[in-house]
């Protein structure tokens, strides 16, 4: 259990969060609750989105529960400018979103020495108004889970 993570849960102020991708200032309002767990990390439903100028356009997605997994994510359009993905009505309702709600799309990056990749097939989608998210398991059949990055 990380003390820093506990601190942010009870504070309205910025709190330092240590992650494998560096130390960030976390804000409680940037906590996303997943309506379905990430496959492989069923014990963690709450994640904190952490940004820093040095990391842009990447964002750290730091798990807050149990195994506390750490991910890097990126807007898929930073990788493929024409990327688009659709939510069906049921998924949209589960996020508390309407057709007019702007949505945040995040693809998970796998950092590797031999060449980093990004999962454009199964992106995360977050409704920033409600901070609810889910991972679309078959979001985009045209893309791979390990699309080359760079």
């Amino acid at each position: 259990m990380s003390g820093a993570v506990t601190l942010v849960m009870h504070s309205t102020d910025l709190a330092p969060i240590e992650t494998p991708f560096g130390t960030f200032e976390g804000r409680p309002r940037d906590i996303v609750t997943l309506v379905d767990a990430l496959p492989g990390f069923e014990d963690c439903r709450q994640f904190l989105l952490l940004s820093s100028p040095a990391l842009e356009p990447l964002t750290c997605l730091q798990g807050l529960d149990a195994s506390k997994p750490s991910f890097l994510v990126v807007d898929p359009r930073c990788v493929e400018p024409d990327y688009s993905c659709r939510l069906d009505d049921l998924q949209r309702r589960r996020l508390g979103a309407t057709l007019d709600t702007p949505l945040l799309w995040l693809a998970i990056v796998r950092v590797a020495d031999g060449g980093s990749t990004v999962n454009l097939r199964a992106p995360l989608v977050v409704n920033p108004e409600r901070m609810r998210g889910l991972q679309l398991l078959a979001g985009h059949d045209d893309y791979d889970t390990n699309h080359p990055l760079g």
Binding site: P69, C78, M131
Partner: protein
């Protein structure tokens, strides 16, 4: 594991509100229909496993040092502005996250 014999048109009820229907039976497979409450996700096993493998291989455990180089290489190729941008579907207006 519970094993039962079902014919076309028959089904199995699991817990509250989950029903698994045998739609048709053919030489190449069995067509299954699943009715479930909307908060119960239903996936093909192989689709789920693919994402499990992708997520597990992407999760970082140890400090990752090469991230700033990756970030700067993405900045040079990115026509869109900053990250954590929210684009409304069907509109061109981006909004910064909170």
């Amino acid at each position: 594991m519970l094993v039962v014999t079902r014919k076309r048109g028959e089904s199995i009820v699991v817990g509250d509100g989950i029903e698994i229907h045998v739609v048709s039976v053919g030489a190449n497979g069995v067509r299954i229909g699943v009715t479930a409450p909307r908060d119960i996700p239903v996936h093909r096993r192989e689709v789920y496993d693919l994402v499990v493998a992708a997520n597990r291989s992407a999760a970082a455990i140890n400090p990752v040092l090469s991230v700033s180089a990756l970030a700067s290489s993405l900045r040079t190729r990115t026509p869109l502005a900053p990250p954590a941008l929210v684009a409304a579907e069907g509109t061109d207006a981006p909004h910064r996250l909170a």
